[in-house]
């Protein structure tokens, strides 16, 4: 009988890694080629998003894409008190639309479509002009207004440790 040291994993080739690697990081790592602006995004939005997210990213049944935190005038649903306008990271908008939207037919948008939709949402939040091109470079430079108002409880409150409080003595 042996110590436990497993070894049945099979090599994962770089080609495979590339085909699965859709996750974008807040420093812009892994953002793909492509680009788009809010004017282009607005047209796609009206075609594929407005039915759920509402005009200008508000008043839909789906989450609010614009505005500030807090109940909007038209709803007192706690989930609609939240808004993409308060997301700390702009890259997360791109990442999420690419993998998950439109809700009922995800992964059907081109990378440039996703840049354009991200640009549109940023413009709805008055963060960029409608004509500003979003791409790998420009998107990673966007600083979201709630960035400075967000904090990482794992690091701040837990000091990046599993247990801040020492386990009691037996």
């Amino acid at each position: 009988f042996d110590e436990i040291q497993t070894n049945s994993g099979k090599t994962l080739e770089q080609k495979e890694i590339d085909s699965w690697s859709i996750t974008v990081y807040p420093n812009g790592r892994n953002l793909p080629e492509g680009s788009g602006n809010a004017l282009q995004g607005e047209r796609i939005y009206q075609d594929k998003c407005l039915m759920c997210h509402g005009p200008n990213g508000e008043q839909g049944v789906a989450p609010r894409l614009a505005g500030e935190l807090g109940y909007p005038e038209w709803s007192n649903h706690p989930l609609l008190a939240l808004t993409v306008g308060a997301w700390p990271h702009a890259t997360s908008i791109f990442d999420y639309i690419r993998r998950a939207m439109p809700h009922q037919s995800p992964k059907t948008l081109s990378n440039s479509d996703v840049y354009a939709l991200t640009a549109y949402i940023l413009s709805l939040n008055d963060l960029i002009e409608k004509s500003t091109e979003m791409n790998r470079e420009t998107l990673s430079n966007i600083v979201m207004p709630y960035k400075t108002k967000s904090y990482n409880a794992w690091e701040v409150e837990e000091q990046g440790r599993l247990n801040v409080i020492e386990p009691p003595q037996e």
């Binding site: 994962l12 996750t23 990081y25 939240l82 700390p88 998950a100 992964k107 990482n152 409080i165």
Partner: protein, 400 residues
């Protein structure tokens, strides 16, 4: 010959029955039916079902709570385990699924379902709780008249069996700057949560079995991540990929839905632990005590940080408290059933429970909890819960 062939003939049997069996019910006179190959609950319990919830009116996002007021013990049958799915339940053929680790590792690797089934496993009883559990009691200004399951039913308990992540992380070999794992599901929204490697090395598993059998599609078949004590959403179902990174990828759910908004409107991200909490399931909302007399108050307590140390119960709205009995085994990050005998005198009574975990953590009052967060923020509510028993025995949700 089997008895099947003689059944018809014999049921035309003698009617010279003796008097003694007159009062015996039909089910003692007619042979019963055979066992099913996969059994089901009694038809007389068909009201015991998950409680569905609608989110954003989506037919894809589905949530359904556990009717914890109808159950007992510390294990939830898999069929009644609460569920929250942002992209529905995918139909995954095991041969169509691999688990992959890459990123800041020495050897990127992948495993088939079959090969992981041959790996060394551990079995642990743990709770799973949605960060949004008990939300109604902090969102609503006045207590809503709902059942315990409707308010607090996003908690369930199971025996989870699977492969400790540490073996797989050692197999790939983590590079020195690897600190986080981006964990991705194979659902249509590729759900992502980022988790510190420390936690994955500590007690996380790739769960392959729940309550003895292979996990079901609505629990992540063919495999899910299980991070004991952490909020439900992090226990990525249909897990297919981990990318080891120096920083978290900041996924959609980490921006808003599973962040808490503080009273001064800061976005508190990455608060993983479900803190110490307790709830009385019996008696509870919308139940009815038939008459004054002897009852058992029963419920469960849990803590995402470790074991439950003690539970106290009050039957006078919090003026006096008594130590409840903890029904063992008391396990780390597991539901722990508590009971206490109670004589109801037929008068209005307010019953509460409060738990302490092995680290000395306690539950805040509702007022304390609410003062910490923005009015609409409702994740991670672990405040003390109460039920009002009216003088006619009606039990209802109550704020102390």
């Amino acid at each position: 010959a089997t008895f099947l062939s003689v059944l018809a003939a014999s049921s035309a049997s003698s009617a010279a029955q003796t008097d003694v069996f007159d009062d015996h019910p039909k089910h003692m006179k007619i042979p019963g039916v055979a066992s099913e190959l996969y059994g089901e609950p009694s038809k007389y319990e068909s009201h015991v079902k998950r409680l569905p919830e609608h989110v954003y009116g989506s037919s894809i996002i589905t949530a359904a709570f556990t009717p914890i007021d109808q159950l007992n013990g510390i294990i939830t049958p898999a069929g009644l385990h609460f569920v929250v799915h942002h992209n529905g339940i995918p139909d995954i053929e095991p041969s169509d699924h691999e688990f992959k680790i890459h990123g800041l590792v020495h050897k990127p690797l992948k495993w088939s379902v079959e090969s992981l089934l041959n790996y060394p496993m551990v079995s642990r009883v743990h709770f799973l709780e949605c960060a949004g559990n008990s939300g109604p009691n902090v969102i609503a200004d006045a207590p809503m008249d709902m059942t315990c399951g409707q308010i607090h039913g996003q908690i369930s308990g199971s025996l989870w069996t699977g492969v400790p992540l540490k073996y797989l992380l050692d197999e790939v070999g983590i590079k020195p700057n690897g600190k986080w794992a981006m964990c991705e599901g194979a659902d249509s929204g590729n759900h992502v949560r980022n988790i510190p490697l420390q936690k994955l090395y500590d007690d996380a598993i790739i769960a392959l079995y729940q309550n003895g059998e292979r996990i079901r599609p609505d629990q992540g078949y063919p495999m899910r991540l299980f991070v004991p004590g952490y909020e439900g959403n992090m226990n990525v179902k249909w897990l297919h990929r981990m990318e080891i990174s120096d920083i978290p990828s900041q996924s959609k759910d980490e921006q808003s839905l599973y962040a808490d908004i503080t009273a001064d409107e800061r976005v508190k991200q990455y608060s993983f632990n479900m803190e110490v909490k307790s709830v009385i399931t019996k008696p509870s909302g919308k139940q009815q005590l038939p008459m004054s007399g002897f009852y058992e108050i029963s419920g469960f307590a849990w803590s995402g940080r470790g074991k439950v140390q003690k539970v106290e119960v009050s039957a006078d709205g919090g003026k006096t408290w008594a130590l409840a009995h903890l029904e063992g085994p008391i396990m780390s990050k597991s539901l722990t059933r508590f009971t206490i005998p109670w004589r109801w005198n037929g008068q209005k009574a307010i019953i509460l429970s409060r738990a302490m975990d092995e680290y000395g953590n306690t539950q805040p009052t509702r007022q304390e909890w609410v003062s910490r967060y923005a009015r609409y923020s409702h994740g991670h509510n672990n405040s003390i819960n109460a039920w009002l028993v009216s003088n006619n025995g009606r039990v209802s949700n109550f704020y102390v």
